[in-house]
């Protein structure tokens, strides 16, 4: 039948629009990624490979380095997500107003997002350097010698420095989304709020915050997805050290895959676990925040 043949031809034509992108995405990204699931059941070391069932997963639960990397990842994710959104929202509230210099400020605060994290790591590495770094020298000059320290060599401090530098770099991104959300709030809502005497904190809690809920959702979710796979900042600032004290799950995968003693099977098991965590946590959070948006 000519009619249905024409329909098929049109359908095929549409398919040719989809296929080029799909080909590269499946062939050079998605399918290799999913094949990790199979590799995670082997003891593949780059050369030989034997099927070993769930042994890699069992081993992970007793591996102190892996457990530490999970603990660190939780700290990074929670720390960065909470602080970045707090600071980002506060900055957006202040910069949504018009005053002299506000555009320059927005431009500058967003700017680190376009720079390579590697380079930002170098710069902050220099600032925090114990001997010639600015921070220790300023403390010296202020007579606060006792506060001087190896900012990136003490494990506890180094983790928070990673949190700090990540927020320094990415805060502008959240800010931009919050500003767009704030600009979308109709002015007359504030005017009627004024009549009811809603000012200051009450105004923020009852009008502003509920109305930026969609921006809040997307910012928290983006932070969560990004920070669970935090890699560049650690790679650039501490390289996972001292020892393995600041290692995240993502940097552990790198270490297992391309560091000393290649264990690709084991690394795959870790990456599958990380992906499962991201998928589950993101789904839970999206569902929860969406529900909250409606209720507010």
């Amino acid at each position: 039948m000519p009619g249905s043949r024409r329909k098929w031809r049109a359908e095929l034509k549409w398919l040719t629009f989809l296929l080029p992108a799909l080909f590269f995405y499946l062939g050079f990204y998605l399918v290799p990624t999913l094949s990790s699931t199979y590799y995670s059941l082997t003891d593949w070391d780059g050369i030989t490979s034997k099927f070993i069932g769930l042994d890699n997963y069992k081993e992970m639960f007793h591996d102190r380095m892996i457990l530490a990397s999970f603990r660190n990842t939780i700290l990074y994710t929670v720390g960065i997500t909470v602080l970045q959104n707090g600071v980002g929202l506060l900055v957006a509230l202040l910069l949504v107003r018009k005053f002299r210099g506000v555009n320059v400020m927005r431009t500058l605060l967003f700017m680190p997002n376009i720079f390579s994290t590697l380079l930002i790591g170098y710069v902050w590495g220099f600032i925090l350097e114990p001997n010639i770094g600015v921070v220790n020298n300023v403390l010296d000059a202020l007579g606060l010698d006792a506060w001087k320290m190896g900012w990136l060599s003490d494990p506890g401090t180094a983790r928070w420095m990673i949190v700090f530098v990540t927020i320094w770099q990415c805060m502008g991104y959240s800010m931009v989304i919050y500003i767009a959300g704030l600009q979308g709030i109709p002015k007359d809502l504030y005017e009627s709020g004024d009549l009811d005497g809603a000012t200051g904190w009450r105004r923020f809690a009852n009008i502003t915050f509920p109305l930026v809920a969609p921006a809040f959702t997307i910012n928290v979710v983006l932070c969560l997805i990004g920070d669970l796979q935090l890699f560049n900042q650690i790679f650039a600032l501490t390289g996972g050290g001292p020892g393995y004290a600041t290692e995240s799950v993502a940097t552990m995968i790198y270490r297992l895959g391309f560091g000393n003693g290649i264990r690709w099977g084991y690394g795959s098991a870790l990456s599958v676990t990380l992906f499962a965590c991201i998928l589950i946590l993101t789904s839970i959070l999206v569902t929860f925040l969406r529900k909250r948006e409606v209720e507010m």
């Binding site: 989809l18 080029p20 050079f28 290799p32 967003f110 170098y122 796979q229 993502a250 895959g257």
Partner: protein
Amino acid sequence: MTNRAWGKIGRPAGQGLMWVLTLLYVYPILLVLLSAVKSKSELAIHPFSWPKHWTFESFSKAIDTMHYFRSLLNTVGIAAVSVAGVVVMAAMAAYAISRRDNRFYRAMYLVFLAGMIIPFQMAMIPLYKVLQTLYLINTYPGVVFIYLGMLAPFSVFILSGFVKGVPKELEEAALVDGSGTYKTFFRIVLPLLKPAVTTVTVLNLFNVWNDFLMPMLYLSDSKKGTITVQLSAFQGMYNNDWSLIFAGVCLIVVPMLVIYLFAQRFIISGITAGAVKG
């Protein structure tokens, strides 16, 4: 606190706070610039002072050590092909996804979206194997193919949002006039998508330009290295020559900074549009 009182105290306090915060962003940039124009020895003795003798020796040394022009050409080449390729292919896919609103295309959209939460570290090991099998390790096409796949999810996501905003009537009129599907897309739809295409192009360009992990792993031949990878080699070799490192940082950052200042509007609109629809 009444509104007026808040305005009297709160507003100047808020603005003051913002100036302090801005300083926290200006200082590192200033530090990089001023350190790069100092000599190595001056930087070691006076790390914070204004440079006494302006010298560009670190820049010329960085240009030599990074093989700047060769690696710049490598980076520009890889970025141009990958970004142009992914933007055109993603726009086509986004067009099909938004116009053929049936179950298959909706499923394909979700397949693309899934890529946005996949950590690169999960693809890292298997991709090495794929490139090895296809004899693409250490080659430009290998890296470009991965970028074409890796950048597709984000590009499809942003562009399909914008395609939905393009009125169908224009295309229908063109189709009636006998213009084919391809012609309609390239002559009518793509030009209408120009702002979105600009946004996606710029954001993808930043991604490729700043990436160091992927080329470091799959393009280890130093002759083929991108500029960011070349700079990362400094870390071990010239540990204490901060002046050299910062000159290298300047050389990498300046092209992107120029693009940022010109295309800022498109960057911001892309981020917020994606966020609002997400």
